[in-house]
């Protein structure tokens, strides 16, 4: 079982934060197939949030094929995200480290690095959509 938390200042909508936390737990192997997610009542009582927020997050996860609802029982994990992508994390991190070192040598400070990363990230994301 996992416990949700919310960052109200992040600008990410609460329902999406819940979705991301489940995906994150799946990626890290904290949640595995067959595990139960907190019931809506539990999540609501813990976070003091609107029940529809939790329902919306669970519907989204269901739509992605990650969980399934068993009426009257709860919501259960039906898939795992730890497969192929986890193996790629190591090499990707290494490359990123090299890139960061290069950026520092070129005189970029933390803020410039973050800004460069975020604009490039957003730009490619937009190109992918278009």
């Amino acid at each position: 079982m996992i416990e949700f938390h919310l960052d109200t200042k992040s600008g990410v909508s609460p329902y999406l934060q819940l979705v991301q936390q489940v995906r994150h737990a799946l990626r890290l192997g904290v949640l595995r197939e067959g595990d139960q997610l907190p019931t809506v009542k539990e999540a609501v009582a813990q976070l003091a949030i609107n029940p529809n927020t939790v329902l919306k997050a669970y519907r989204e996860l269901e739509h992605e094929g990650l969980v399934a609802a068993r009426p009257g029982v709860g919501t259960f994990v039906t898939a795992t995200l730890t497969d192929t992508s986890l193996a790629a994390h190591g090499p990707l991190r290494l490359e990123l480290r090299r890139w960061l070192a290069k950026a520092r040598r070129a005189g970029l400070d933390d803020e410039s690095i973050e800004a460069l990363f975020m604009t490039t990230f957003r730009h490619t994301a937009q190109e992918d959509i278009a």
Partner: protein
């Protein structure tokens, strides 16, 4: 879809002052509705009209298909927790539950006892000796054990410390899941309600400025930043909520259902708090304009 609260041109006047004007809203059932506005905006007036403690001066209001307080059946359907969650200081916790059972035909004694137990309250304790948070929880317990279809709460968390505030809203949201009740609660701080409400009404100076589902409101309001521009020259489907200008830059909050294609604008999301503030700002700006025109 079932309607929980419907108002048509609703108004309430005290002497020469209108506490609420031209209020037309339609709230579907199954929502937690946040009623937000500055102090003195008319929030309490609207809530008291909905619970039948006040009679409208103008227009009509319909709550769960009936006229507020028109009979015992209607009274049983609506629960009301007044401002600052009042309790009887001289009576014990158990006395409050007995009183609740005596006054409400649909009283859920098991629910009341269980909540008091979970809260760790001593039934023999006098209500006057409880902490602010405990008093609020006792008032909430009375409101819930009545088993209403709609629970109205007027500024329930305003006087509570952050922990008590969180605990109060936790209890309220748990009850929403368990009993499928609709809730209308007011606050002068949107931050208090941001997490719990999925329908928002912004009330400023006795008028409803905007009302709707929170998701929809957030999806249709945007902040535009770009080179200075006259707001009147925007596309017709973009309603300007607020506008600020420097000599070179314009920052607008607009409402639109259509996508924004103009590449000159940087479009960003609004938080619920920014959205509410934009409407309050709009209201002040409109008032200033009226004052100038009168002169």
């Amino acid at each position: 879809m079932k309607t929980v609260l419907q108002a048509q041109g609703l108004g309430k006047r005290y002497g020469r002052r209108w506490a609420l004007r031209d209020c037309t809203i339609d709230i579907p059932a199954g929502h937690v509705v946040g009623l937000v506005g500055p102090n003195g905006a008319g929030k309490t007036t609207l809530l008291k009209l909905a619970s039948g403690q006040l009679e409208p001066t103008r227009g009509g209001i319909n709550v769960l298909g009936g006229r507020p307080a028109e009979g015992p059946a209607q009274l049983a359907k609506v629960g009301f927790v007044a401002q600052d969650t009042p309790v009887y200081a001289g009576l014990s916790v158990a006395d409050h539950l007995r009183l609740g059972a005596r006054l409400n035909p649909g009283w859920d004694a098991a629910l009341a006892r269980e909540r008091i137990r979970l809260l760790g309250l001593d039934p023999n304790h006098r209500a006057g000796k409880l902490s602010g948070g405990q008093r609020a929880q006792l008032a909430l317990t009375l409101g819930l054990a009545k088993r209403p279809e709609l629970l109205i709460l007027d500024e329930p968390v305003a006087s509570l410390d952050p922990l008590a505030r969180r605990e109060f809203l936790q209890g309220l949201m748990e009850a929403v899941v368990e009993h499928e009740l609709s809730v209308v609660l007011s606050s002068h701080l949107v931050a208090d309600l941001e997490r719990v409400c999925d329908f928002l009404i912004v009330l400023v100076d006795s008028r409803v400025e905007v009302a709707g589902e929170v998701d929809k409101l957030l999806a249709t309001h945007h902040r535009l930043t770009g080179p200075r521009r006259d707001p009147d020259r925007l596309p017709a489907d973009q309603d300007v909520v607020s506008a600020r200008h420097t000599d070179r830059q314009s920052t607008l909050v607009i409402r639109t259902d259509a996508p924004i294609h103009d590449p000159a604008w940087t479009v960003s999301r609004l938080s619920l708090e920014d959205l509410v503030l934009a409407y309050m700002e709009k209201h002040t700006a409109d008032n200033r304009r009226i004052a100038l025109e009168v002169r």
